[in-house]
């Protein structure tokens, strides 16, 4: 088991390295010229060249990459030979000249918003999705199964901006049940935090719960056909134990896979939901950086999102070993 973990972690480190390489060169090969973007339309070539030098874009790409990676580990200084050099301490993911802020600071500011959005949505959809999925499987073919699967199909088909806008229109504007969303952290004002996040959570949960209902239902039904479920019933176990301890546990693997990756994807920013509810999270930040061609910021966010997915993959694989003893080899 320990060997397995070490192998997986080493693999993850290698993957992260390849990731920085890919992301860095992908974005630096793009036609947008960051130096030109630093000043307006009436920019003289001399100023652009000077800025290019400040931004360290006048050195070979390989060297740029080296500085980028070494910045992550040891920090770096931008605009060294100007009167106002910019210290960027390790881990330095870059510096957004458009916003005059370190990339990491921008991400750290937006991350809690996305974190709470993702966690709340995740918990909601897992509870709703798994519960209704199991109920649906147990009542297969009955009206309750058909109703749940009908709802799932609708939830699955509706785009998140539609669900979000409908919720805003009715709950906030028409029925005045909630105030308009205004981001705050839970420790500052828990009441307003919940009021703000309730609709975004529901929006995200509706979308994902639909998928998890179907997945859970299919898994439970498939496992019900297994011989060891018949054995469990032949032992005289109560149906509740047969379903939860024997069937659900055995069918958990694909659910855990999907859940891990979905959560990681969401932690990287829920672009549409954040935008609809004016939440200043990573999704909003990502959209802003793309629209402004803020390359250091785009690079930073992409790296972070991809790293989250890789990390989630690792966690999921380790969870497999916890769930399924047959995986625990070597």
């Amino acid at each position: 088991m320990a060997g397995y973990v070490v192998r997986r972690v080493l693999g993850m480190v290698l993957l992260l390295f390849l990731l920085t390489l890919t992301v860095f060169f992908l974005f630096n090969m793009m036609p947008a010229d960051p130096a030109r973007l630093t000043c307006g339309k009436a920019c003289s070539p001399a100023v652009i060249e000077a800025n290019r030098h400040h931004l360290e874009l006048d050195i070979p790409p390989i060297e740029q990459y080296q500085r980028f990676v070494s910045g992550i580990f040891f920090g770096r200084t931008f605009s060294k030979d100007t009167p106002r050099p910019i210290e960027c301490e390790a881990p330095c993911l870059g510096y957004s000249f458009l916003r005059n802020t370190e990339v990491l600071t921008l991400i750290a500011r937006a991350a809690p918003v996305t974190f709470w959005l993702a966690i709340g949505g995740f918990l909601t959809w897992m509870v709703v999705g798994l519960t209704l999925g199991i109920v649906s499987a147990l009542k297969r073919g009955r009206w309750i199964d058909r109703t749940i699967m009908g709802i799932a199909l609708i939830g699955y088909s509706l785009p998140s901006f539609f669900i979000g806008l409908v919720l805003i229109f009715f709950v906030i504007l028409d029925w005045n049940l909630l105030p308009f969303p205004q981001w705050t952290t839970p420790d500052k004002d828990l009441g307003r935090f919940v009021q703000t996040m309730l609709l975004p959570w529901i929006t995200i949960a509706t979308l994902y719960a639909a998928f998890y209902m179907r997945l859970t239902r299919n898994q439970v039904l498939e496992i019900f056909g297994e011989d060891y479920i018949r054995t469990a019933r032949a032992k005289g176990l109560p149906e509740r134990i047969v379903v939860v301890k024997h069937a659900l546990r055995a069918g958990l693997t694909p659910i855990v896979t999907a859940a891990g990756l979905d959560l990681a994807g969401l932690l990287g920013g829920a672009i549409i939901t954040e935008n609809i509810f004016s939440l200043p999270g990573l999704g909003s930040l990502a959209i802003g950086s793309v629209l402004a061609s803020d390359l250091p910021l785009i690079t930073g966010i992409t790296l972070l999102t991809a790293a989250l997915i890789i990390f989630a993959n690792l966690i999921v694989d380790l969870l497999y070993a916890v769930i399924d003893p047959r995986v625990r080899v070597g």
Partner: protein, 361 residues
């Protein structure tokens, strides 16, 4: 009035009724293609401590019969009719939770494929403990000691270590021993073994059968063994019931089946047992054709389309293509479902069994 009848009924039934009595058992499944009659009018009795072998091809209804006795069919969406009397109690009338309390306690079952019949995620000791605490108020420590004793008893070497093994760490034979330990842990009165040796190596098959027989002697368990292999049952069973297309077509004491089987299907099964003592050049004699689809059964005798002898049925008995034969007692405790007259059946039986013996010499 009703009460009096019931009391009288019980007083009459429980002492006289055999330990297990299945009466007119029928199981239907509704599918998209139509209604499948998986079991049709099956009746048999079994005395305490005896062994009945139910023999038949895949889809003959033998496993469904067993699962209906265990009360497992209703959960699968099957419709069960008829009566199942176990030790003076009619099971088909009980509520699901009452049958659940009997399952694994009064009656237990082991299955064909030990590879897939144990839960892959739980230690075998825990799976046995689960069966104990489902039926008795025992502490986990005591239950675990009991499980360990039983594992030793069914011949698991190094049981102290193996009790914490996962199923995938054991061989097929070991897993079937674990299944047997789990089935017998609550000392059931009735043990149903559904093809317990089919998925195992030949060398292990004999060991497992021997184990079942030994434990049956020790615990006084009544056993139903289900198999498609008539060769398996010779040493184990007291009685044999041959099933074909959801019905019992012949039932008799084991020696009677081997020496005086009368139904052409049973004779066909006997002829298709591979035997070492048969000559190399001798070919097996399989029954031609396939079993009928359970949705579209032949209107007459269900075996008629594959029967070599159906044209010998005299007109007075009716046309086997349209007339369904009944199960009749042809000699004491020997039941046959066939339209052929008794003398014709016995002549055919004599010829077939003689030629089998002849080829062995």
């Amino acid at each position: 009035m009703i009460n009096v009848e019931e009391v009288e009924g019980r007083a009459q039934h429980s002492p006289e009724r055999p330990f297990l009595s299945v009466e007119n058992l029928a199981v239907q499944f509704k599918t998209e293609d139509g209604i499948v009659q998986a079991v049709d009018g099956v009746s048999f009795t079994l005395e305490r401590g005896k062994t009945l072998a139910i023999v038949g091809e895949s889809g003959s209804g033998k496993s469904v019969t067993a699962q209906a006795i265990m009360g497992l069919v209703k959960g699968m969406g099957g419709i069960v009719s008829g009566e199942i009397w176990l030790d003076g109690q009619e099971l088909n009338r009980l509520s699901p939770s009452e049958v659940q309390a009997l399952r694994g306690d009064e009656m237990a079952m082991i299955f064909q494929d030990p590879m897939s019949s144990l839960h892959p995620f739980y230690r075998i000791g825990d799976q046995i403990v689960e069966a104990i605490v489902a039926h008795r108020k025992v502490g986990r420590g005591a239950a675990r000691r009991e499980a360990l004793e039983m594992l030793k008893h069914v011949g698991i070497p190094a049981a102290e270590r193996r009790i914490d093994a996962y199923p995938h760490q054991l061989s097929g034979g070991m897993r079937q021993r674990v299944m047997i330990a789990m089935a017998l842990i609550n000392s059931p009165q009735l043990l149903i073994a559904d093809e317990p040796t089919t998925a195992l190596d030949v060398t292990v098959q004999a060991q497992i059968l021997e184990l079942i027989r030994r434990l049956q002697g020790e615990f006084g368990t009544t056993v139903i063994i289900i198999t498609h292999d008539l060769g398996v049952v010779a040493d184990v069973a007291d009685d044999v019931a041959v099933m074909y297309a959801a019905r019992i077509v012949e039932m008799a004491p084991t020696s009677e089946i081997y020496n005086k089987a009368e139904m052409p299907y049973t004779l066909g099964l006997l002829a298709s047992i591979p035997r070492r003592d048969r000559g190399q050049q001798e070919r097996l004699d399989p029954i031609p054709g396939n079993p009928p689809s359970p949705i579209h059964l032949p209107p007459g005798c269900v075996f008629q389309p594959r029967c070599k002898y159906w044209e010998q049925v005299p007109e007075s008995q009716g046309d086997p293509r349209t007339v369904r034969p009944e199960l009749v007692e042809t000699s004491p405790r020997h039941y046959v479902r066939c339209l052929l007259p008794q003398d014709v059946r016995r002549r055919i039986s004599h010829e077939v069994l003689q030629s089998l013996r002849g080829s062995a010499e």
